[in-house]
Symmetry: C3
Subunit: 264 residues, 3 copies
């Protein structure tokens, strides 16, 4: 994926309107659903054990986010991932606060073993899953810059045989060989809850539009970053920024994407 | 209910300030509560088995929405519905994504057997509950226009002995004999998550204000549609539209309602 | 704490950026997290039994809010409170709708026995916990003015050996001996869901910044009230007010706090 054809990826997403199955956390369900609708996907939040395996194959992509995990939800995540695998539906994993407690690390590793197409996390989370100690986050927030996690991301991608995206001041996407940086975004993103979760879901929407995992992650993070740069103009603080961010997903046009995305 | 007295219904709702008991989905709890407050009701979200039967009789209306259902929540919904019935508290059912999985259809039919005053759904959901096959939605979104569901709505109203409201480009409300259309709203409603759930809750608030089910459904959908028409003016996208929509509920005045509602 | 040094308290909060562990209700998780981020804290929502006792000692404060309680969540609240106590992490309790059902009252009293540093509630809730009958709220809303709950607050503070904050037109904070009023805020706060919960969380953030409980409660409620007075300017209704409220937390400056806070 190059800067020139991110706009094509968005057009493809909007034309397909993929159904994106989310098993995500309570904090971000509303904003995730609205972000997915604004970018052109159809979100559904489904986690009940009596239906999760029936629903997963109906979707074009599955998003698993462990933000407010608990044992019954983890069971639903695992069953959905297996059902998605069987049906050929790609999934993306957001290992929220992996490393902060042993439970989160352990659950993340179990889900990683079910072969996500993409793992998207902050530096602390990716370093924890790569086995680096001493980089644990402050709750859900990273204590490390994304640059510090580049090696960990590469190692994790190789070991888990998936694409790894680590977000921060610059976002990095790697499949273990290639490494692309996305130099978009705004510091205000870190003052709004769930923008990382939102980035994960949007990458998932690009998976659902049929993009290869490496391209889907780049497209999702570029769209997120360009929209944030548009949203900060005129925002008076984090809440008006969040409103403008979702409006920006809805209004993104080809020219803005082609001019705005900074891949490196 | 006629166009001329929708404003009276709103005045009645605001004067009574009904306590509306919601057992609804995680995605929309916040926006539902804010919509109910803005229109003049007192929302409460209560689902725990140790208290749900004690709480239901305290409210003036009960809203049951299966959006993120799971077995313990379904048990709470059933117990609340029974307790509401015993206490003479009317309830409204929102069968989110009925037809998308067997579990949703089965739970919806069980709740339907507990005699809701109103069922509010999109075309795919109402057609699924009426037994029509082949009209299943894409996740929580309808694949059918509301016109296609008019017969299904009428049949369902007769069979379930309740009022059925099917929302779409034009909303239809029927008790099996009468059929009223409400030609208000804006396509942006479908780009914001939970606006259908919000419409259901507002119809529930009118039930709580003492309106007959047929009138409560018409009033709720007319208010929703008129507010949406006000909100789209000046909105820059779906998120600023949602903010303006809840502001509009708060600010609705008699003149706007009398002039704006288009019943047919 | 005096009017002159509320700004110092905010500066201290922003410098420390305390990790605030929330076990709160589904309705307000998103807005609570955003309010905490806007004021300068790091929120985390963690409730799973396999990790809640491991997580509580990592935080600088714990917020327990029973809004959408259920038995497994109550068990998590109790375990987290005990773990916080052992680790010397202060906690604040929000007994949402205590008095509305026996279950809520009973759970609130059990949590009260675990020695919160602060209890923050509306008048009906505080009166219910103080054992006054006949003052039960309408669902989550108080039927009593805060003035009516001053004696109850004082009695509860003495009996539970904690600070009690009762919010309303004027907020009162007492440790059983001292009693400070905060005459800030705006009636629009009562038309937005979860502003009481937000006040509780912000008081919790000041606990996490190392303020004594009495001062933390005053600082939190003064910040809430001053921000509301800034937010109502230009707001067009409750939703734009809520956006402006969170923006105001982010933008609060010393001059506004020193000039705006009205302690009595």
């Amino acid at each position: 994926l190059t800067q020139a054809n991110i706009a094509d990826a968005v057009a493809r997403l909007r034309a397909r309107g993929p159904l994106v199955h989310n098993i995500t956390n309570y904090v971000v369900m509303n904003t995730t659903a609205n972000a997915l609708l604004a970018i052109g996907a159809s979100p559904a939040m489904v986690h009940a054990l009596p239906e999760v395996e029936a629903f997963a194959p109906l979707a074009q992509a599955l998003v698993i986010n462990i933000g407010t995990l608990s044992p019954p939800w983890v069971e639903a995540m695992e069953r959905a991932a297996v059902a998605a695998n069987v049906a050929g539906v790609p999934f993306i994993l957001d290992p929220v606060a992996a490393g902060a407690t042993p439970y989160r690390t352990e659950v993340s590793l179990r889900l990683l073993a079910l072969r996500p197409a993409i793992v998207r996390g902050n530096a602390s989370e990716i370093m924890a899953l790569a086995g680096e100690t001493g980089a644990a986050g402050k709750g859900v927030d990273s204590t490390q810059g994304s640059d510090a996690a580049r090696d960990a991301a590469r190692q994790l991608a190789i070991r888990a045989k998936c694409v790894v995206a680590v977000t921060g001041a610059i976002d990095y996407v790697t499949d273990g060989e290639r490494m692309t940086g996305i130099a978009n975004g705004d510091p205000m993103l870190s003052r709004v809850t769930g923008t990382g979760c939102m980035a994960t879901a949007i990458c998932g929407a690009f998976l659902g539009a049929g993009l290869a995992p490496f391209d889907a992650a780049i497209a999702g993070l570029a769209v997120m970053g360009v929209a944030a740069e548009q949203a900060i103009v005129g925002a008076k603080g984090p809440a008006s920024f969040q409103v403008a961010l979702i409006d920006a997903f809805h209004n993104l046009d080809d020219a803005a994407l082609a001019a705005g995305a900074r891949l490196q």
